[in-house]
């Protein structure tokens, strides 16, 4: 039983008649306040680095990377220390998560620019304007079925009279801080060591999605903290050693039910991954039980003797069932369409590319390279160097959790099995479509890595004099920092790690004031919900701030992006516009400057995606000026908007 449980449960046994109680001890924060100042200095460096990047100055990268190291490394060094108190470690874990969240805020502190953030903005805005949380989302299909984040943010925006941007930033910031605290407690209780928990949290921050993707105003960022809270409740429910029969069972069951329902309406993937993990955990208990029964019929033993209780009821099986019920029910009642549309496509593409890779039908993707973006040699080395230690750690962790001291522990085994998925997610990165699946899986897989890593590194022989321990701590901090920086390199494209000048198809780098102005014009002057053809970066702007509905895919077997790529406007283009009921065409004239940094101009399935060798022809975009029936209703130099009503009426 962990020290925390001990605190909670031994308290009631204090004799009421005992003499004056001892004064409670003071919190020992150790070096945490000092390290907060150091981390804040790192944030200043990142801010200056980003500002330099916006002006294409050379000092941008040294300041940015240096800032990340100043934020991460000193805190991790202290987490490795044997002298830090439990409170200090927890404070450091929360500080680390908070400081790294601010790094994301520093990327664009005045508004949302990420694709998913603008999709969430649209969903939240629609909810506030219409009161409907389940309206269709033209940017990310899935948001229409999972409105947990939008409802929470809308409540804050409406009650506090705050902009959606500010509300979203506060909500995700608090979610990040709470996630770090919950992860720390979970790892601490699982491993039985606050030091292992601190190291584990530092390793969790190395997951490729942690710095930006999991910090964005998106449903997954919020779902992670709900999942972490469910883990805490499950751990308490499944802890066989402490509770007397019937101890607050009703409270825990209701808590797990509430958390399951909240998670089910917030994010599909996190719900399914959590249900899977809890099921796996219950299975490891059941299998262990069965083996023990077969051998000698001995009673429960070891530090996890609870296996005598049924894991499917008094263990993780119950929350797994509750979550499966909530997620399954929500899927059937409300979210089946959007879930299959979003996840189905991602998984289908990933599986197909792996099959093609194995059969040799298509070439593989070079690691650290996609479309026109290539990492420097140093970045590639750092990326590979971040993967290797984890690949070594996983089998050692598996051995430790299966054969080592205190084994067998079913939770340990389940977490080690989760860590085993890491090499598989790395394999997925060898395919274009699999990269997204790998990226999405990392926040779940790293829970296992955080546990086995924390456990192994905590158990290293930290004996000897202070200088020796410091040397070991420094070496491990350097290694962990490499894993952290390399993870960021693996997960984030070179062009979007820092802000910068305009880049065609460069996601956030293609979000410019001209695009925002066009979206604002659309919001003020064009009918909301009008159907629009537009390139990918501007689609997020006109579909969010502009309240138009972006049209993508194909109609009658013709890709709608053809309207942009054909050199002359012909009958096929006319057919796409008429049959797909296109109201407006948004043309970014800058698309003809270069090939798209992200591999595509309009959507990942467009003909030529990821293989452009020349930029889009100027004639392809100029043609709209000479089409009879098209009205150019907006022009700010970079972007023009054409009204197709005259064309469609012909």
């Amino acid at each position: 039983m962990s020290s925390l449980d001990a605190t909670a449960r031994t308290a009631p046994r204090t004799q009421p008649g005992s003499r004056r109680p001892r004064r409670p001890p003071r919190l020992s924060l150790g070096l945490a306040p000092l390290l907060a100042l150091v981390a804040a200095t790192g944030l200043l460096m990142v801010a200056f680095g980003n500002n330099a990047a916006r002006l294409d100055l050379r000092e941008a990268q040294p300041l940015f990377w240096g800032g990340l190291i100043v934020v991460y490394a000193p805190i991790v060094l202290r987490l490795f220390s044997v002298s830090a108190s439990r409170e200090e470690r927890m404070a450091l874990a929360v500080m680390l998560g908070g400081a790294l969240y601010v790094v994301k805020v520093l990327y664009e502190p005045t508004g949302f620019t990420l694709h998913d953030e603008l999709a969430t903005w649209r969903q939240t805005s629609d909810l506030i304007l219409s009161g409907q949380p389940l309206s269709e989302n033209p940017i990310v299909t899935g948001y229409a079925g999972f409105p947990g984040l939008e409802l929470f943010t809308a409540a804050l925006s409406q009650l506090g009279d705050l902009r959606i941007f500010l509300s979203g930033t506060i909500v995700i910031g608090l979610a990040r801080l709470t996630l770090m605290a919950a992860l720390f407690l979970f790892l601490e209780r699982a491993a039985g060591s606050s030091r292992a928990a601190g190291i584990g949290v530092a390793l969790y921050a190395c997951n490729p999605s942690f710095l930006y993707f999991d910090s964005q105003f998106g449903y997954e960022s919020l779902a992670l903290v709900i999942a972490a809270a469910l883990l805490l409740a499950t751990l308490r429910w499944s802890d066989p050693t402490g509770a007397e029969p019937g101890w607050n069972a009703a409270g825990l069951v209701v808590a797990m039910g509430l958390l399951s329902a909240t998670l089910a309406v917030t994010h599909h993937m996190t719900s399914y991954a959590m249900a899977g993990f809890l099921g796996l955990w219950a299975l490891t208990i059941a299998v262990g039980d069965a083996r023990r029964s077969r051998r000698a019929g001995g009673g429960p033993s070891g530090p996890w003797p609870a296996v005598a209780r049924d894991p499917w009821v008094y263990g993780p099986g119950l929350p797994a069932f509750l979550l499966a019920l909530a997620a399954g029910g929500w899927f059937v009642l409300e979210a089946s369409h959007v879930t299959t549309a979003e996840l189905g496509g991602v998984f289908k593409e990933a599986v197909e590319s792996i099959i093609h890779l194995i059969t040799g039908d298509s070439g593989s993707k070079t690691l650290f390279q996609s479309a026109g973006q290539t990492n420097t040699m140093a970045a590639r080395i750092l990326g590979v160097a971040s993967i290797v230690p984890l690949l070594i750690m996983i089998p050692l962790g598996l051995l430790r959790t299966w054969r080592g001291k205190d084994a067998p522990n079913p939770l340990w085994r389940a977490l080690a099995i989760i860590a085993l998925f890491y090499p598989l997610t790395m394999l997925l990165r060898f395919t274009q479509a699999g990269t997204e699946t790998s990226q999405r899986a990392s926040e779940f897989v790293f829970l296992g890595i955080a546990f086995v890593g924390g456990l192994l590194l905590d158990e290293l022989p930290w004996r000897g004099d202070r200088a020796r321990r410091l040397r070991l701590g420094l070496a491990l901090t350097a290694l962990t920092t490499v894993i952290f920086l390399g993870g960021f390199i693996v997960g984030e494209s070179p062009v979007t790690r820092q802000p910068g000048s305009f880049l065609v198809g460069g996601e956030t780098r293609a979000i410019t004031p001209q695009g925002v102005a066009a979206a604002q014009f659309a919001a003020e002057r064009l009918p909301a919900g009008s159907r629009v053809l537009v390139d990918r970066p501007n689609s997020t702007l006109v579909s969010s701030y502009g309240h138009l509905d972006r049209v993508s895919g194909s109609i009658e077997g013709i890709s709608v992006s053809r309207v942009f790529t054909s050199e002359r406007f012909d009958a096929i283009d006319q057919r796409v516009i008429s049959n797909d009921a296109i109201d407006y065409i948004v043309v970014d004239r800058r698309l003809t400057r270069e090939t798209p940094a992200g591999g595509f101009y309009f959507e990942s399935t467009e003909p030529g995606a990821n293989s452009y060798e020349e930029p889009l022809g100027v004639a392809s975009l100029r043609k709209f000026n000479h089409v009879q029936g098209l009205s150019r209703v907006f022009d700010n130099g970079a972007i023009a908007i054409y009204d197709t009503s005259g064309l469609r009426s012909k």
Binding site: A40, N51, R54, F152, A154
Partner: protein, 255 residues
Amino acid sequence: MSRARGIRSPDLAAACGLAVVGLLVSMASLGGWLQAVVLAPLVLAVPGYAIAAALFPPWTIERADRVIYSFVFSIGAAALGGLALQTVVDPDRGAWLALLALITFGASAVAQSRRAVSPIQHAPGQSSRLPAGPHWAVAFLAALAIAGGAIAIAAGGVHEQQSHRRFASLWAVPVPGGGGTVEAGVWNHGGPASYTLEVRSGGTTIEKLRLRLSPSQQWRATLGPEVSSRGPALLLALYHDSTPYRSVELNIEEP
């Protein structure tokens, strides 16, 4: 007097008090930061705290767990409560306030009644005290101030980058049901600038306007059918320093 009434629960009283203050502030429609500061906890923590108190009586979980559950159950209150609410009314400010306050009051009542029957309610406090001296607080506040400064610096960088992009937008749209009436405008996104706007229809210049716009200033005008319907197309051309700068062109449908 029932046993539940006899138990003091300052935390639950504070939660309900915050909900009442929220109701009062919202009715007074104070607006601004005061409203945000008073009402934000009612969304972010108070309902969750009350739910956590109802599910976990005192001393059954650690303080850190309670903080975590307070936030996460608040998400649940807004998400699940909001989904239920929208089936009855559109969730506007009043509806949110009523929902979250009701959840807070209801959960607090359950918590209070559970404390009355819980066998471990009289447990002495085990929570730690704050560290001695003000140094730790000063350091944390300084760190927060520096982090805030970093955000301000980054925001300044964004504005500086945007200030380099000086441009203007020209637009014109037919007024729906306006019988040929057109609304047009120029929006200056850069520093102070002078433009000339030429309106042409049927091959002839109908109007030429000189515009002097300050930063972010918008100019708008309505062109009646007598202007727009002189030919099949209405052209608006914007000149900057006598050179063609922007243009829009509308096909005018015959009435």
